[in-house]
Amino acid sequence: MNPDALAIFWPFGIFISMLFIIGLYCVLATFNLVRALIGLELLIKAVTLLLVVAGYISNNLALAQALVITLIVIEVVVMAVAMGIVLGIHSHNSSLDLRKLKNLKG
């Protein structure tokens, strides 16, 4: 990476890492299923921003935008299915607590 690109990248890189760490903390620390999905969303947002910044630095914004659009479409599908699963778990267990999901425990 040339110095100019690095000078543009490092502030974005720091904030992207921070956002990723926040999302990871949310996924790991919570016992609520909806909150875990919110953490997953934050992780995906950090990756989205990384893709856009990479495209901006390498002057390849069109490819980055195409990738981001694909990412967003897949993100929506994942979220819709995950919400359906969360609703199913809630109707089955009357709770969203991850610690109570022990039905398949051997």
Partner: protein, 162 residues
């Protein structure tokens, strides 16, 4: 660059608020706010198509999905609902005045409204990459979309059966 850093700080603060707030509904709203700030950064980095997708899908559709899931899993009791309905008009009595005042203030500001996007060439390139360059992964994306639709349909059907 300073503006970018300020917007990035706002992004981190809204992400922190999303994670740290106790109410799930506020967390969903914080996520929508994070999406909106990310959209601003994308516009500033010259990615308008991705930004529009992010704004409409992530801060619109996914927020609606989250809020509907939260409302379906944490229903309010009857007393809470009645109390909420009684307080609704009282809490927002000032909203029409705020909207009218904001409209009058904006009309006095004389903002430049001749927005012209200077990125039509980039957008055409994005369209070219999206529809002409990609071949195999487009099939994969369609399969993922179909699996998502079928998954949601099957889940809702099972919910109705129960």
């Amino acid at each position: 660059m300073l503006i970018n850093i300020i917007i990035l700080i706002c992004l981190i603060l809204s992400g922190l608020w999303t994670v740290m707030t106790r109410s799930l509904l506020r967390a969903a709203l914080g996520l929508a706010l994070t999406s909106i700030i990310l959209t601003i950064i994308m516009f500033r980095l010259g990615s308008p198509l991705a930004a529009v997708f992010e704004l409409s899908v992530c801060s619109g559709l996914i927020s609606v999905l989250f809020i509907s899931t939260i409302s379906l899993t944490e229903p309010m009791s009857q007393q809470e609902t009645l109390k909420h309905m009684r307080q609704r008009l009282v809490r927002f009595w000032y909203l029409p005045f705020v909207i009218v005042a904001a409209g009058i203030a904006l009309s006095f500001l004389k903002m430049p409204l001749d927005f012209k996007l200077s990125v039509t060439e980039t957008m055409q390139t994005v369209r070219f990459i999206l529809w002409d360059v990609r071949q195999l992964d487009l099939i994969g994306q369609v399969i993922i979309l179909l699996s998502g639709v079928f998954g949601v349909v099957i889940l809702f059907r099972e919910g109705e059966k129960r």
